[in-house]
Symmetry: D3
């Protein structure tokens, strides 16, 4: 049964649904009565709720990052939605679908994954081909790859975000490799692997994204290197030069040390990867920002990703 | 009649040809005899020459940046070419073709220019179309546009370099505009105009490239703005918003103030232009550097454009 | 009739006056009754007002940046002024004088403008003189020049601020030009024009200052360049060198690219302009900051313009 | 038989010895006679030699980085040593001891290695102990560890330099771990491993130090990570947390991204490692610089490692 | 009689005690009744208090930075302590011990001071010895030295903090001086004096730490220089070189101009002092931050001193 | 008797004169004959000299920074002066006037000094007046002040340069103090003292300028502070606030820590001093650079002081 999503609720209609607790604060009224302030969300939106003292016995059971089952009705005051709750209880994991609570890419995941695989299967260099096959055969890794977000907050911060990001860069890579006579196989493999460490850097199994301990202590670039080296070790006679070139692509894809790359790009393919990665990140990041912060006029709020400046979005020129 | 080019000379063969004086130093031998040290070049290469005292009466007539007519023969000692001169005199402008002395793009200039025009003619927004037509009809400007280098020293520093650069970015622009749903007409026009100021910033009428006074005092970004505004003034009712968006594209295409852009990119198209401009500049710059500094092994000399690092070029992976 | 200004109101006295709405927030009381929180201002000060539900029918008519007519009385609680409103309605533009709502320079505007003109009329170089005459004859531009603020928030952010700023720098310019034997005419004209683009960069026709779209997308430096070039085009035979030197003065007056100047100063006059501009900006900015943030002791609050540090203001030494 | 070392030669005495060719240039005399300019070195010093045309048939056999057998006598002109050669030929690898040509640490290598092992053997945490044992049992790695330089040019750029550096930091680590109650075992292991990647980053098998391709493309920090992970893979149940903490120590030991560390130190031990590594590098670097650039007075030449400033070395205070 | 400290209070128990007013805000209830919001603290902790209108007549007597005598009882609501006050009045200086309100080092001050003196008394160079004796004989200065905090907010921000900091660095200095053959006497004296200016830079006579006017206008580095020069002036024939070396140690101990050092370290001892100062500051700063911001899991809040990153603190590895 | 100055020599005329040895290199001819290459200078210019083997016995007596007596004649080859020496010997200090060898300000020193004193004597604040009198009464210091250069190489690097610099800034200070209502006495005293430490930072007693040990280890800002404090100590009851404000002026006059100022300007007067100091340094530095590097066309060589850019110097606009 599909869960009623927040964005589909009609004003006044009473529903039973599941919501994730994205924030919880214990407060007190003027009369010193305790109450809970909650932000409840699903993948489609978010509401603020005050839980008064008549619910006091469930207060301790409600935890951030957990999911609750609620009955309530939506009202709206001025421009802000309110959700008036009449019943609330913690929900058990088997009752709900985690995917209902996390932003998901608008792309079709299986279809996009197939497209990525199809492109990778065109790699013809025998060594790179063997390596690619090993990756594609690793079902656990490919499942994570198809699920991981591309970032915690900025561009493509959604389930399937990494896949969506890699898919878009592969298209750019095919175009650029031909226009500038790059080593196509090396570049394609580099695109596929450059952010593969994000499958372990981010924690996307909960209702909001966070960093794993390994993510904080080691980082996705170095995790990605280990994932690559683990696969290469399974191949006999993989040439050292090709190994180093692939490692270099992962290590240098942020372009400069200040952005986390321990190496700056020193090959044509590394220079290209850094730039096309940047194109997708910036253009998708621009669109995401505008979508999440719909401007009230021609200028958006200040966008952190763009040097903390307001972006210009209209009116449409044509 | 085609001039014998340096790179085609056979050892020992005596030729009559024209060469540009790229450097001239007055020196003295141990015996205090004056002699001239010269670097003589054409578009295909360069030789060093010592002009001994028997030529003393032509010394004052030989100027840097001028062209001389010489008779001589090529010899080689170890890995260095030498040119032994038996006759030398200043050449008059009508005797030689300036183009023989300056590096020229490998692309076919008329063909590339036609391709650029064809793409620009697909612009459909009525205002942008009228503006494009004005530009295409300005024969003097289009001739300069087809001739100007893209830079003094780095990427595409050759006659036709600007055209070659714009042509390559237009291809990227078409691809990116479609992939990310950008305003195609605005982006195409921005690509065409972003470096148009280089037609006046650089002096490419002499035998080596230099900056004009206007180039040093004002710079190509602001010269480009004036060129755009001069055209717009000839149109009635060109919308202010479109004017500002075009100006913004030119002003912001270097991305950040530190690289000379008085504005950072604030529209999707400006973000895209900055990045695709960068792709062409970096990848062509990489190839140019390797070509001019052929490495003796896997690593090149230190490349100023790449953070002063050696670049990796070989052995070929596949 | 002169409008009663906020700073002149006596406690308890009931007045009818006009006030600009500088901020408006829709809120709700504990009882879920809607009310409006407003900041109402005129050029002399600001008060906070809560508008309770008895005024609910005028809520939608009250817009930020608009002007309202109010009847009320000033009270004070602790150190904060309160304004208790008994009547409120939107005001029509013809009812009030916009000047009553915006900070105005303390200088006499016509007198200062005359002084600036008098100095400019001493320019003797024939080309610069013709150009100056064109500017002085442009009544619309001179009116804007006399009205525009010098900044949105920092130094001289008031009607007439640009004029006040230019007037002060002219005095410095006369002194410095003589002490260091600079080209006096060039420097004077540069001072007059360096910020002329602010007449279009800022929007000072509303009750608070903001940036125009052109201001954000193009910026006052490049707008200023266009204004200069528009005038020069009307002159025949204006020497290219003098045009470039004037353009260079405008382009380089912020000193370094990081502060928005696409050129660094390369002439004596450009070096001087950057420094004397800075003197007026910093010293007036210091005084303004102290005036707006009167310190409670010897040290002010942290001043953004001064590297976010507290400034020392007393006790007076002598 | 011990090779006669350059620094022991007496003026005028004729010797047969082996010397490494650190530099070779083909030149011509005024008469156009070819000759070779050579710099010949062993671990104790260097001499300049001109090889005149009577040796022309051995010219092609003399390569940079190779070793030659020479007969000659030392003379001195002013403050510069000269070596006059009467016989010269390439030497075969089995004729000489490579160690005679490369700077070696002044410490006793086996003794220092034993000291390092003794300290590591005091590690008591069972997981870290097992890991340490694996490392100590890897004879190839430990041999490289005892041989590798700590840098190409700066501090401890000599055979045994890495060992010398690690040994000194271990002493600091023991002291600091106790003073600040750090996790002693974790820190000791981190000190041992922080530069272990230098065993593959640098090429110290030739007569001068250089970077390997892997060193340039991947870098010692990431090579070190792979070496660590290879060992951990051989252990069952090594806790993920301890793995990540060790990885973090290696990754963060340069302190900031600008110095090549993809992570900044986030644990007490990582903060400590970065600082004590720095102490040894800076103080040994200071001493090395002064030794190699003995100052002519109280101030040295400009030291690149110290912000390009002259260092003060005397006269001795006490 | 010892004052009851906040951290020792039992819930519900009524006590009479003294507390410092660290913050005071005048507020109003919904009913427009004035009340005071106070933060009251002693060296062991802090509580928030609302003072309702029944205390209105003491409102004006309660000042920030002053001490009050209160009767009240501790209650706790959720995770926050509350202190319900029944009596409150300003306290006279002679009633309380200032030390009860300021964080004090955990070290025994007299014992640590003795240890510092003992180390300084081992200085054997006759000039440095005479100078040391002058310092140790200055009772006022030594008392301040034993009392001053090492910083306003970060590491060792407590009474005795400077002493604790110097004592720890002296231990490091003894170790490092021996390991690297430094001038031990010079380094010890430098450690003792490097922060001596903090005795006048900070105001630690009140209930919270602040900067003195001299601290803000001159800074501890230059105050320290004056203190040193005042003592040297009392000695006849103190060698200029030794004076300059000591001055250099004080001036350069922050390492780089960006951190406030007008000189970068140019002697071995100055290099060492900068680094060991850093070790103590960073490691104690880490521990302090964790202690004051006990993390809720493995990661702390963002630590300003560590590049604004979360620090990793557990679970304990061993 | 006045020494014949280099710039006054006629070609071919034989003279006896004194010259300072600014550079000396021992060289060998092709025939292995030793010879000396010398640069000999006086305040008016410089010549290059080769001293052949017939002078071999005086070689060891000729030292850099010393003065020699020579007999010789000037010849010119192409654009370079040559001085052919027939006699040379070391000169004794009593034979020559040191002033003949060092660049001196073009201003009249006694007259400029008197002007400075006259301005300082207008200081009316009683404390500042007493302090000023103490300075003016210190003959040794005032003599050094009138003699010291303002810099080693850049602006006003000549005897009297400091005086010339202070004199110019005093004029600016008088103007700015009045225009912006600054504390005139404080600012004047600050201008006088801001670089007073240069009297000990630079060594201007030899034939070329250098840094003293104190200059390198302590720096002129901190030396200046000591000079100020030495004087204040002689006054009873000089107010602490005024002392701190004067110290702050000296400490902050470079504006930012990166340029050597341990404090940033926090008072109106400190802000003003930093800016007017900059005006004189930049404009005089511009003029000096052009004078020493007369450009061959409109653009100079690259000027280190101006961000390493070429400066534009002509043709004259008017």
């Amino acid at each position: 049964m599909t869960k009623p999503m927040l964005k589909d609720l009609q004003l006044g209609e009473t529903v039973d649904t599941f919501l994730a607790v994205s924030q919880k604060q214990e407060k007190k009224t003027k009369n010193q009565d305790p109450y809970l302030y909650l932000r409840l969300a699903d993948a489609s939106g978010e509401v603020e709720v005050n839980l008064w003292k008549e619910f006091a016995d469930v207060f301790p059971q409600i935890q951030e990052q957990s999911v609750v089952k609620v009955r309530g009705a939506l009202s709206e005051y001025k421009s802000k939605k309110q959700f008036n709750i009449t019943q609330i209880r913690p929900a058990a994991p088997e009752e709900y679908d985690l995917g209902d609570f996390i932003r998901k890419t608008k792309k079709d995941i299986p279809q996009t994954l197939q497209k990525v695989k199809d492109i990778l299967l065109t790699i013809s260099d025998p060594d790179f081909k063997k390596l690619t096959d090993l990756f594609l055969a690793d079902e656990k890794l490919m499942a994570d790859f198809a699920k991981a977000p591309a970032a915690q907050n900025i561009h493509s911060a959604c389930i399937g975000g990494l896949l969506e990001h890699v898919s878009a860069i592969l298209d750019l890579a095919l175009f650029v490799a031909e226009q500038y006579h790059l080593n196509r196989d090396l570049l394609l493999l580099g695109v596929f692997l450059h952010d593969i460490g994000k499958t372990r850097e981010l924690d996307y199994a909960k209702t909001t994204f966070g960093y794993t301990d390994e993510g904080n202590l080691v980082g996705h670039i170095n995790i990605g290197l280990e994932i690559l080296q683990d696969k290469i070790r399974q191949l006999t006679d993989f040439p050292a030069q090709k190994k180093n070139l692939l490692e270099h692509l992962i290590l240098s894809h942020h372009g400069v040390p200040e952005f986390g790359s321990p190496r700056t790009p020193l090959t044509m393919e590394a220079v290209a990867l850094n730039l096309i990665d940047n194109i997708d990140a910036k253009l998708v990041g621009f669109q995401d920002f505008v979508e999440r912060n719909p401007p009230n006029g021609s200028w958006t709020a200040k966008a952190f990703m763009f040097d903390n400046r307001s972006l210009y979005v209209g009116p449409k020129v044509i």
